[in-house]
Symmetry: C2
Subunit: 208 residues, 2 copies
């Protein structure tokens, strides 16, 4: 398995893609460690958008911490089922459509994504959080860390959108935890999935 | 339900986002019909990437044809489970991990995505195809149409990547079928999902 490919034709495409990605982001390569660069390449490969080499931010040794946490088989809490469908890992928590989440969202008049993070609180503590879509989910994770004594081992926070996404990611970077995020409005499921799958591959013996 | 939001807070974010999207793509608005513009807005909302207003192409009345096909409850064949997870529809076919697909991929030494389209051939004929990731899957759909008498009612082909994606989308546009695609290397799951969900919402009474 290499960047999601498992057949000869898939491998050939993935390898040619990586060469093209390296050429397209060459001016940013110096900004990253070797292991960070592997993640950046995966994101640019997944999105065909070299701008992510300008936008991605790594804080507090997040890859090393993430690899350790995956080796400990901690749960990965995600915001939406699209992210869940892309992550190659057994223990994924995604309560967005749980009855408890829907009731809490209705009762408190908040988004389902925000409510789902409250519902997943005990998994987020000492777990990994991956937010690919919802700014309100990420803001709730930040709230849990700041006010409810919750401490994730890694937060990958790359919500997308013109409303609240940029603000949520700026707030995320104020936390003193291992973090991977991206600046600006861009982000999304493929960004989130390619980052966490890169860390999982590194932890569980796949090739990066 | 409005652009995926169902709570007051979610609706508020979606509406503010749409106003921002309209402002960001205003120079391209004149290129689209009203119903095309709804789809373009959804894609830009989902990706926070206004460039898609330059890249999206609609051929042979694809929204109208797609709405009719959805009202007929035709199957939607998709290339990967991330796309499946995002689409709000009952009848979705995604054989990428089927035993038959894995065996065919191994035997023919082709990608799993390509093999999965051969496996889904009878659903693609008179069905809707949504390719969000794999250029080889899209090339196989084109092959099925050109050489195996298969006729989908709508093809949404937005694979992503620097290898084969652009080429596959150019070939797609040679077909005389209802098509939605985007030029260049960009595309991906959120693009595919926001397009088909827009059409489903239009067909089944949701708000666009």
């Amino acid at each position: 398995m290499f960047m999601g490919a498992s057949t000869d034709e898939g491998l050939e495409i993935a390898k040619r893609s990586r060469d093209i990605v390296r050429e397209k982001i060459k001016e940013y390569i110096k900004n990253f460690s070797e292991e960070e660069l592997e993640i950046v390449e995966r994101v640019v490969h997944a999105t065909a958008d070299p701008e992510f080499a300008k936008l991605l931010v790594f804080k507090n040794d997040p890859i090393k911490e993430g690899v350790r946490a995956i080796k400990d088989r901690v749960p990965i809490v995600v915001d939406v089922n699209m992210v869940k469908a892309g992550v190659r890992y057994e223990n994924i928590i995604c309560p967005i459509n749980n009855k408890e989440t829907l009731e809490l969202a209705k009762k408190e008049n908040i988004t389902r994504a925000k409510a789902s993070m409250r519902v997943a609180k005990n998994y987020i503590d000492n777990g990994i959080v991956v937010i690919g879509n919802s700014p309100t989910a990420l803001l709730e994770v930040i709230n849990l860390v700041e006010h409810h004594n919750v401490k994730p081992r890694l937060i990958i926070g790359v919500p997308v959108g013109f409303v609240k996404a940029e603000e949520s990611k700026e707030k995320l970077l104020n936390l003193d935890l291992p973090i991977i995020t991206c600046k600006g409005a861009k982000g999304g499921t493929p960004v989130a999935v390619s980052i966490i799958n890169g860390i999982i591959a590194k932890a569980l013996g796949g090739k990066a």
